[in-house]
Subunit: 408 residues, 2 copies
Amino acid sequence: MKKSILRKYAKLTAKVGANVQKGQDVVIYANVDQELLVSYIVEECYRLGARKVMVEWGSDIVTRLVYKKETIKVLSEVTPWVIEKQKYYCKELPAMIYVDSDDPDGLKGVSQKKLAEVAKNRYPILKPYRDERDNKYQWTIIGAPSKAWAKKVFPELPAGKAMEKLWEAILYTSRVTDDPIKAWDEHNKDLEKRTKFLNSLNLDYLHYQSSNGTDFKVWLSENVLWEAGGEKTLGSNIFFNPNIPTEECFTSPIKGKAEGKVVATKPLSYQGQLIDNFSIVFKDGKAVEVHAEKNEALLKEMIAMDEGAAYLGECALVPYDSPINNLGILFFNTLYDENCCCHLALGMGFTNLVKNYQNYTNEQLHEMGINDSAIHVDFMIGSKDLNITGYTKDGKAVPIFKNGNWAF
Amino acid sequence: MKKSILRKYAKLTAKVGANVQKGQDVVIYANVDQELLVSYIVEECYRLGARKVMVEWGSDIVTRLVYKKETIKVLSEVTPWVIEKQKYYCKELPAMIYVDSDDPDGLKGVSQKKLAEVAKNRYPILKPYRDERDNKYQWTIIGAPSKAWAKKVFPELPAGKAMEKLWEAILYTSRVTDDPIKAWDEHNKDLEKRTKFLNSLNLDYLHYQSSNGTDFKVWLSENVLWEAGGEKTLGSNIFFNPNIPTEECFTSPIKGKAEGKVVATKPLSYQGQLIDNFSIVFKDGKAVEVHAEKNEALLKEMIAMDEGAAYLGECALVPYDSPINNLGILFFNTLYDENCCCHLALGMGFTNLVKNYQNYTNEQLHEMGINDSAIHVDFMIGSKDLNITGYTKDGKAVPIFKNGNWAF
């Protein structure tokens, strides 16, 4: 990868993604194979006036060993300094930058039950801190190829060529053009127009229909907004882009109000394994029946993870002709794959989509219909002939999607 | 590097170096370029029964940026979770494994004054924790080539070849033979014999003389032992090897009792810079006059770092015909270079060399003549014709070194 392009990507990350402020602390999470890119991001953060930049490195290989060899009890321990760190984050609100280069098969061979158990044990300990600083700080996720990831996406290519191809795909979908800052400015404006229109409709429910068997209704709350692209921090009002790339307009549906069957149109990569050719039937908002040709048991485990894991947290609209879908690549990574077409997510919803959410407690926001769970897993249901009709509170039908793409 | 040899090196590190115990926690410090070796060490730790293994990754490039861009005030901050971690280490006494692949020029371009200031500010905050767990846990340092380090040692070779040569040198000097465990067992036994003899002499002082101008006397305490190779943890009595490789028999001299001039026989790599062709004159144990053809100012800054930085903390005997010196390589890394020939160290001495040191407070041990400082910097004074004569308390002269090598 050319260093000049990497530098542009780093600048986009720090400026448009995290929008690092003068005097602010920054934490960067990355795997050990991303030293060069991370160093460029660190430089960009200082250029924007960061006070202190901290990098938290990880390693796929070591993480897999740790999960394989340690007991659930040891893995579930939250050491005192991790709590101390969370407290510091709540106090100082550093911007968080996640550079994702994880091997999609990184945790292959680790018992799914063990992973779920550990996540379940750690979640309530860390949740109060996550809740406390929720929406108050800027964060962004970007991707960067690792050899393992590139070989997973392009198994037929030699490692070097696969890395090159994955870099190309990442930079293309992330709009790292000659002037990425300008490209993102325009992109954000376009997304804003669409959400404005969706919010103006005051929709009661959406009806999804496709020839693949999808026939599904999901109810929306008038108190919950559609959002896309960037968002603003609570209090300090700093605009940032949590995901690079992003193509979706999304909202959180009402927990407990969804009916019918959805048929997945892409495989789902979950905890290092692929769940494929699956469908889910919802009744009273809950996933009550799942079928999968591949890894059905894993899918069942997933939705049994906790009470909220069988309910929907997100409902997102992405045209079938999105840049990512046009590439025709399965990235085995949600950041990209979720932006390829329409999707739903099981698990945690977005409390910050509730109008004036800052005036409510988290408990109140959940009572208002925003789902809560330790998981948030997107799965794709966009298809070439997907039609979505919105029904407004006053009974009007509005075409939202026609043949897979925006109807407006 | 062949994976099978790397695995032997990893086993030597975990078993002979840190001697990881069943049920023990382990912390591994390494740079991001050492993922494979680190993963092998992690595996070996689990094989030995480690309860939990944590890896703390670093990056030369990021560290340099951080030191360049952040203020002394910010760099001097010890965040609350670092203190929390220290407390945990004091309580749990994890074994510590340091994999050193640092670029010897890693901090080039960073103000030396800034580095010294930051170290001085952080030291008193962290010292109580270091003191509390001192001697109670196993630790070991090993080396592993990075590209930058290899190119520094072999500037004339292309990067790949330089890496290969540095691996060879490291594995040779670390005795990574067909059976490294056995080789280290024999080596430790040999070193033990020599220290037993030195301790039996009850030496009053050593007199160093060489044709290069060295003429120097240093006084020893009857309460302070000579040590070499491995040592045992306090309380749990676990034998471990802090350094891989190690060739030296060393002791801590009495603070305030050294006279004469020593001429360095190798350049000293300090904070990314090379101090070369230097000599130091001691009076009442203190470095009162220093000369250096290269970086004299840096040397002066070093000994002015704190009160103890101008006094000696170590006096070590290594034959001129050591494996490391025979290789004829300057490693630009103390772990290797200090094992090439006789040396002294400015700064912190070893309180654990005092007989029954566990019965004294740190303050008492320092009052007994063990120097204290934030630094501990070795510099080489071994030469081809170095003679060292020991004078016993009862006035007998005993030849210790003759023409650069052991006289006994």
